[in-house]
Symmetry: C2
Subunit: 349 residues, 2 copies
Amino acid sequence: MAALAGEDRLIAWLRRRARGAGGEGLGDDAALLRGGGGPWALTVDAQIAGVHFPPDLDPRLVARRLLAVNLSDLAAVGAEPRYALLALAAPPGFDHRRFLAAAVASCRRWGVQLAGGDLAQSPLASATLTLVGARPRGGRWVRRSGARPGDRLWLGGTVGESAAGRWLLAAGASLRSNRPELPARFTASEALAAAARQAVRRHLSPRPQLALGRWLGRQRRAAAIDLSDGLSRDLARLCHASGVGATVAAGALPAPPHLLGLAHLLGRDPLELMLAGGEDYVLLFTLPRRAAPPPLAGCREIGEITRETTLRIREQGRVRPLRPAGWDHLRAGGGEIQIEPAPGGAGSG
Amino acid sequence: MAALAGEDRLIAWLRRRARGAGGEGLGDDAALLRGGGGPWALTVDAQIAGVHFPPDLDPRLVARRLLAVNLSDLAAVGAEPRYALLALAAPPGFDHRRFLAAAVASCRRWGVQLAGGDLAQSPLASATLTLVGARPRGGRWVRRSGARPGDRLWLGGTVGESAAGRWLLAAGASLRSNRPELPARFTASEALAAAARQAVRRHLSPRPQLALGRWLGRQRRAAAIDLSDGLSRDLARLCHASGVGATVAAGALPAPPHLLGLAHLLGRDPLELMLAGGEDYVLLFTLPRRAAPPPLAGCREIGEITRETTLRIREQGRVRPLRPAGWDHLRAGGGEIQIEPAPGGAGSG
């Protein structure tokens, strides 16, 4: 079984303590409720200044990102978003109306009713959103635990671009209006500059894959998780929940345009960005061998589910263990990417 | 119509912008959902270090308080608590297990299933809880908008004690184990010291009035709000939602034991503590003229609802306007009690 990070161990401990009647329990991207007339899926996520977004980011972008990352959790279980509750804590001088107007507009765009909330003053801006989603008529909940040996592993879009965007922001990029501003060294080639701007946008404005999630809920069998903490870490979670392992084909991982060039300028390893960068907010999912998602969704098959409960990666014909790496929300320096060094030796074939 | 605080104005503005299909809208203590198989009541509240609790407070007490203040919102609408979602942000070194174990134990005590959550690292400890409540079989939702002229105004318990506890903490009191420690000047009389310790406990460990809320939901007509931001401010909200006014009898306000002595030592006005102290977490409610709550609940009739949409207070035979005062979560210095001076002159009889 793949090693769990501190955060996962804490959640496993909490799940044992919290076991009881009622909900189907902790462990999916959204809580799946069945009591009292459900079914509902509930999810909560926070965005904290200096942790999840630059402290000087336009409050409108914070609001949109807050909604997007939460909607991605509903997408992962195949839910249709319905209601939102917003808890906003902010220092004096924070532009509440700018934030709230954008939150309401984003809610409208995604068909969500802002139903309640809480306001507080705090030295640190943070916003916590709770979303309520409904199970579509005729659909199933998509769980992390639905993967079976022989299933194929899929990604809903490219990985690594959001992490590149975060490193670009750390390197001085900014988004004041709609056009990201870049430090000079990223503007030498127009193609690279366009890719860099797109990475900043992708990081700040992820697009939740709600239609893909609903499609998964209509399949005979599917498992899914949304990629928030890095492909390798979230794959470990999906495999742990399903009691399976997986082998990923490195060459099949869908990279955004010019990731190599961006990674080089940022001094990062492109494969690390893809495997452990995090905040991709695309769905990682499994389907039975012969099933395939609609061609227009931009999905890519990246590997297969194995009976043996380890994670492996196949790169240039060699198979080595894939160590879960990425965000651990409890580690010191949680705002930084945490890469555990992959063992150098080749694994078993 | 009573003047609204900055926070109330912002929420009114938000309500106009967020109007749409689905929920019954913002404005009660909990969001009342009817779509998709409901009915559910949802509420969210945050507790932030240095704002809602002392930064060095035992994480167990923070967890219990977080649950209690949220349960009080469900009590106000007459809901039965069912599910909780927890978003916890904390700095390195925070004792997550101590906090989470207490949260789980509190959930169990109140029949709540911890169904999901979110963990993040943050320089500032804050915890945001979302609660889902169900409408009891045969019950109604209790709304802020249900008050009618001629109804009687009731309080579910004493007011001012929690605010006295907050001032005691500011004056150096602490609660490390179960027994509050007091600065020497509060221990001269044993009766006063006992009242001071009780005030600290009341502030840190409020008791949500869930049974009272459910009882209100079984009445032919009732309106309610939970007192979090001060009696006068929350009364203004209830009256505003109902399109009515109210006259409060100062002499009928239920004070905790030794409030006068405590207020004197703290340099506070006891009536201000009762009217504007906040964080009482008892229900303020209205009932038709001849109805009365069960005698054991500790409720007190404190006034009546009027057709004229002003708030007034009757004190020693004189009636004067009652200015909404208390917590405004958007004001600078939101951690302090904000008292707007009451006009000195007597109002009309």
